[in-house]
Amino acid sequence: MTDPVPEVFLDSSSGEPMLSAARQAWLVAQEAGWGDPARLHRSGRLAAQALDQAREVVAAAVGARPDEVIFTASAAHSQHAAVAGLALGRRRIGSRIVTTAIDHSSILAAAAAAGSHTAVEVDHEGHVDLGRWSAAVGTSGTAAACIQVANHEVGTLQPYAEASEICLHAEVPLILDATSALGRIELAKSGWSVLTAWAGAFGGPASVGILVIKKSTRWRAPYPVDDYQSGRWPGAPDVPAIYAAAVALDYWLQYGRAVGERQHDLIDQLRAGILERVPDVDVTGDPVRRVPHLLTFSVLYVDGETLTLELDKAGFAVASGSACSASSEHPSHVLAAMGALTHGNVRIGLTWTTTATEIDRFLDVLPPIVTEIRTTVGAS
């Protein structure tokens, strides 16, 4: 009997596996700081301390004050609150939300729900068109604009500093979605009004979303609130999870630089290796100005679901933006907006521990799988 093929997890875009430092921190906080941070007893005070520490870590990482940091329940919750709260706070100005065409679907959904939504086109590598961005942001009635630091599927960095300048000039508050970037690359510490992120993206608990609202921002809670988190997110916070999230972020900031450099090189090797060994493949995204850990490619004539399942059998867990493989009838809006091939899509997200050996093995395994599928469908 042979052992099953050990799985190599290359789907960190759905969540970085929890770092052991974060898991340890969670256990410690569960023991000591499980109380309601609003209570005056010892457990409550310990919880309040842990919550303060967590706010300080996030605040320092993004260039904000600790009392501007809010913890929500997920990336989507943070993004919905960011968009809806600005739309409410600036309702006298208008209800238009400007985004790029490739923002996360939860931002696009929140923008559509807010009133009118303008999605600005991107180029073939995913960079927003700054001329069109300027025109959209400058149109009267714009409540807020939203841009990603880096795209969650293809990794391309947006020219967000330039986009932010445009917003500043037009006096339109900017939501900076740092979900795929926080902890992994140095962020600009100013130029935005609201920042969103998610602990699951950097090896913290998936149940912790991050929302940072700068003091001068005209944001109003678009839901009923209470006394927790200065009236900006209701309900007693899950302190052990929040504390673990802060430890994970701190761990990236302290030790993640070498990991990021290794990941950047591994993605370069993957990109070159795929182009060399697989004919008729569309490798997307900016090859240089990108986050270190993401790569997306699409294989002509191949069905994304079949490719994902064959790679899983060969021991590699990957994501796909093709229709049917993402429990959707429609292909990834990111790929479609970039003019990239949407079928046969594979989305790679390297983890903290991904090795060069694993990437070499992936490059050995992929070409015969592609050839086999193409032969089966009569496209070889």
Partner: protein, 78 residues
């Protein structure tokens, strides 16, 4: 788009009801049946057909000259 003719008299591939990548595989298999410079009509109603046909043309050096889903026209260039 002004080159589109209707009803189409050349090679037409009816791929309605098929999921991508099947319509793309079909046009790849049949495009060599027309002379260079001639057009092929593809009928496809899968939501991915539009972006994927455009991407296929870019990757394979063909030209998408009409896109009015479910009707697409591709000119053979090579």
């Amino acid at each position: 788009m002004n080159e589109a003719v209707s009803p189409f008299k050349g090679l037409s591939l009816d791929c309605r009801g098929m999921k991508c990548p099947r319509p793309i595989i079909e046009i790849a298999r049949h495009i060599a049946e027309v002379r260079i410079g001639a057009a092929v009509e593809l009928l496809a109603d899968d939501p991915a057909a539009g972006p994927d046909l455009a991407a296929w043309c870019r990757m394979r050096g063909q030209t998408l000259i009409g896109a009015d889903p479910p009707r697409f026209l591709v000119r053979r260039e090579s």
